[in-house]
């Protein structure tokens, strides 16, 4: 059985980005983590839900893809590379 591990080059890139964000926040006088949590402020709940609560068929998945493509065309957004 294969063991999945994250790509090391990508991990280094993510680590570098994390350290850069922390440096910027220190320079701005902010805590490294979430400033609102540090102040004890209540967080807004995550409202990013999938388009359908549960994909039940290939047709459902393709419907989601089609709606995203149509919206991108309507807003003249560049189409990302897709498979």
């Amino acid at each position: 059985m294969q063991q999945y591990r994250p790509n090391v080059a990508r991990q280094k890139w993510l680590y570098s980005m994390m350290k850069s964000r922390a440096l910027m926040r220190r320079r701005q006088g902010k805590p490294e983590g979430n400033a609102d949590i540090a102040k004890g402020k209540k967080q807004i709940l995550d409202n990013s839900e999938p388009w359908l609560p549960e994909v039940r068929s290939v047709a459902d998945a393709l419907w989601i893809s089609d709606q995203i493509r149509k919206d991108m065309e309507r807003w003249k957004l560049p189409q990302p590379q897709t498979d």
Binding site: M1, Q2, Q3, Y4, R5, P6, N7, V8, R10, Q11, K12, L14, Y15, P50, W51, V55, R56, S57, V58, A59, D60, A61, L62, I64, S65, D66, I68, R69, M72, Q79, P80, Q81, T82, D83
Partner: protein
Amino acid sequence: METPPTADGLIEALASRFKVVTLGGVAVISHGLNRNTYDADIWVDPSGTLSDWASRVGPVIFTYPLARPVRIGSWTPFAETDLATVIRDDKVIRVLGLDRPLDIFRDPNELEISEFDDVWDRAAALDDGTRVPDVIDLLVSKQATGRDKDLQDIAFLEAKAEREYLAKLPTASADIAAAMLARFLTPKVAEAGLLHSEESVRRLSLGYLKELAEDGDPFAREILEK
């Protein structure tokens, strides 16, 4: 008015006769990532010889209305009698003529033909008879493609797998924890293993964390330095 033939219609026709696992964008969207996909990718049960496979699968594809199978890359049509040769050489065929392209794999990247039954058993069943691979099998299928366009999928799937592991690993038995760690490993997952109640899991996790650090993972190094 009659519904025009579609890629998902052909997938359903195949799934009514064979085990069909979705791959690529369709599978990633099924796991909850909102993105679009230009085509649909499926893995049809590869058991048996090449000619057995072609003689079973070929009639369903070639008799589906408007379906036009072509070779990947050259986009040249081929005859049903050549399906075994084409699938041996290319590992995949593309079906045009429907509402979107459909890629049908027998031997996909990074997943072995011999692994199909295990992937099928771990996969989630959909209402149309197809199955969606579990998050780790899907990650393995994208692990070494080297394509920038897969990075968003990989980030989404890694985060999802890591969340599931961090929720399950702390209370898993020693055997289950070891089996979990044998399939998926990140520095955070190994760090969670260090807090497990079983000594064997803590030892295993520490060993994995050291391996990750030796491979150059900076997150693993930082955890070990703490």
